[in-house]
């Protein structure tokens, strides 16, 4: 299938005097890994926040699988299949890693008031999710961290747990906001390896903000470049890397 899973049409968003997004339109193809890059403050995180219902766009619209989703509440957007991670991770500080990760999968049976006291109703699902968590932790070499309280994790681990939460959400589209910031380079690479493995096996779509452009470009199919809230350029990694406007924006911005 080549039809876009996510479509952003002419979205604008201002914060007081700051124009964080200005008439941004883009598409994410189903089953792709799409990148979103741009200098700091160019509006990347704001775009994610608009897509996930965290902010309401001033104008423009967002479509997911052909359905208009801007204006829905964040929990509704999550439940139709868009998971996101935060640039500054928002883990539940006094819960353990395991509990943090177990919270991700959407539509858990045991999360209803009536079924919760009936262990039989949710125990199988619970065991299955716990298994997934265990495998994921092993994948990221964090086996022992499951019983650590989230507020006592190291910075890199926090970031990995945040990313794992995005992956575990049983979403169709996963938005990752700088997943490898503060993470060791080799770990970052294995994270991207895992992402492209998931894309192939689980038919997931990824939309990733990333500052390590060298790393990102090895794995993405398509890249969008934001600059001062506007879409500056788009294309395959090669096209973008050779676009003079992009080079200028990065050098000019630095």
């Amino acid at each position: 299938m080549t039809n876009p899973i996510l479509e952003v049409r002419n979205v604008s968003k201002r914060f007081g005097g700051v124009e964080a997004l200005r008439d941004v339109s883009l598409e994410v193809k189903r089953g792709s890994i799409t990148g979103l890059i741009g200098p700091n403050g160019s509006g990347k995180s704001t775009l994610f926040n608009v897509i996930t219902g965290f902010y309401k766009p001033d104008s423009g619209s967002v479509y997911f699988e052909g359905r208009r989703i801007d204006g829905l509440n964040p929990n509704e957007i999550y439940n139709i299949g868009i998971a996101r991670t935060f640039q500054i991770p928002r883990l539940f500080g006094s819960l353990t890693t395991l509990e943090n990760m177990m919270l991700s999968p959407r539509g858990q049976k045991g999360e209803s008031l009536l079924r919760a006291p009936l262990r039989k109703a949710w125990v199988n699902e619970e065991l299955q999710i716990a298994n997934e968590v265990k495998n994921l932790l092993k994948e990221f070499n964090m086996d022992g961290a499951y019983r650590m309280v989230a507020s006592s994790l190291s910075g890199g681990h926090v970031k990995m747990v945040e990313t794992s939460k995005g992956i575990l959400g049983r979403a169709k589209l996963i938005l990752l906001d700088e997943p490898t910031a503060g993470v060791h380079y080799a770990v970052g690479r294995s994270l991207f390896e895992y992402i492209s493995y998931l894309r192939k096996t689980a038919n997931l779509t990824f939309f990733i903000i990333e500052h390590r452009i060298d790393l990102l470009f090895d794995y993405v199919d398509y890249v969008y470049v934001l600059h001062m809230g506007r879409l500056l350029s788009q294309g395959t990694p090669e096209e973008v890397a050779s676009d003079p406007k992009v080079i200028e924006a990065y050098i000019g911005g630095a």
Binding site: R90, L98, L103, G110, S112, P117, A130, V133, K165
Partner: protein, 369 residues
């Protein structure tokens, strides 16, 4: 000199009523982070619903049509309360159910305006709600205005020996306390309990993980307020009377201190807190009784100690006596963690189930295999 049975009879129902309230508040503040400063309102609603229902049913059953708050009604109740055991019991059960439903509904409705606002506004709104309800009940004639209701039929009024009557009531409150405890433990140690804790930690992040935060809060306020209503009903049947001024804000604060001292987010802690404060309560009552003409009312001292204790606990031991535990679900088994707490509860339920079956079979006159 010290009569253990009469102490038990007078202390235990109060303890279990407070323990139930503390468990409810613990679900709200300890698990979900909802600062319910108006707990007393739901307690009061339960109390008035129980008082109103039982008086009305009794009087109309015996064909009297006095207003339920009139002197005639009180005198009549004294005569008819012990005549029909089945009526007492069924009115008691019905009152508990109605108290749960009405108080729960009130909690659900109160949650509505506060879905979107932060803890400070929730605190103000619910606190005001509690105060307003008390003022309202003072002017509400059908439940006797500021004098309230008297002569509410004890569920075991038909038992002639007062000691046995009171012991039966102790057993009933104990059973209800255990049931509430088990229910809340089951709720807390489930994916639902985990979602509750995520709301307490960071409600926005929880919302972004698809948890319907406002709905969960409303549901929880329904359940916890409803159970507080049951506690109110028990209190009314224990005292035999109900009046608006029994439900001042200080009661809410007393329950808060139990939860803070015992340990937020730990149901055993809530019960421990209730135990400590209800004993402290008794001690001041005894002091008051022994030294009739004290310069300072021991109650003032007790309240001062309570206030200071809260601040000290918050500063030096914010987790309380019993610290919070992780959410015990089967997920830990995958990681090879022992499930002791969980297993204990399951075992408890199985035992209770067995006894219930046996009691049922005995009632219908059949042998248990």
């Amino acid at each position: 000199m010290f009569d253990i049975v009469s102490f038990l009879v007078s202390w235990f129902p109060i303890f279990s009523i407070y323990a139930i309230l503390a468990l409810c508040l613990n679900m709200e503040i300890g698990y979900t982070g909802m600062a319910n400063f108006g707990l007393v309102a739901f307690y009061a609603i339960g109390a008035f619903v129980a008082g109103y229902t039982s008086m009305t049913i009794f009087l109309s059953f015996y064909g009297y049509n006095y207003p339920i708050y009139s002197l005639d009604a009180i005198i009549t109740m004294g005569k008819i309360a012990g005549r029909t055991p089945w009526l007492n019991i069924s009115v008691f059960i019905l009152s508990l159910i109605l108290a749960f439903l009405v108080a729960g509904l009130a909690g659900y409705l109160v949650s509505f305006p506060t879905l979107r606002v932060g803890p400070a506004f929730l605190g103000i709104t619910i606190l005001s709600f509690g105060e307003m309800l008390r003022v309202f009940m003072k002017h509400f004639q059908p439940t006797g205005g500021s004098y309230g209701l008297l002569g509410i039929p004890h569920p075991f009024a038909w038992v002639s020996d007062p000691l046995i009557k009171n012991l039966l009531f102790v057993i009933v409150t104990l059973v209800i306390l255990i049931l509430v405890f088990i229910y809340f433990e089951l709720l807390a140690n489930s994916p639902y309990g985990r979602a509750l804790k995520s709301i307490r930690e960071d409600e926005i992040a929880s919302l972004c993980l698809g948890k319907p935060v406002p709905r969960i809060k409303a549901e929880l306020l329904f359940v916890a307020s409803g159970v507080s209503g049951i506690a109110g009903a028990l209190y009314v049947f224990y005292l035999g009377s109900v009046a608006p001024d029994m439900f001042v804000t200080a009661v809410t604060f007393e329950v808060w201190s139990m939860v803070i001292l015992g340990g937020r987010g730990n149901n055993m802690g809530a019960i421990l807190g209730a135990l400590i404060f209800s004993l402290l309560n008794r001690a001041t009552a005894i002091l008051n009784f022994i030294f009739l003409d004290l310069l300072i009312d021991p109650n003032y001292i007790r309240w001062m100690i309570t206030g200071i204790l809260i601040i000290i606990v918050l500063m030096y031991r914010p987790k309380g006596i019993l610290a919070e535990k992780t959410v015990k679900t089967d997920a830990w088994r995958i990681f090879g963690e022992a499930q002791r707490d969980w297993d204990r509860i399951t075992a408890m339920i199985q035992v209770a189930n067995r006894y219930l079956k046996r009691a049922f079979h005995w009632l219908i006159g059949r042998e248990t295999k």
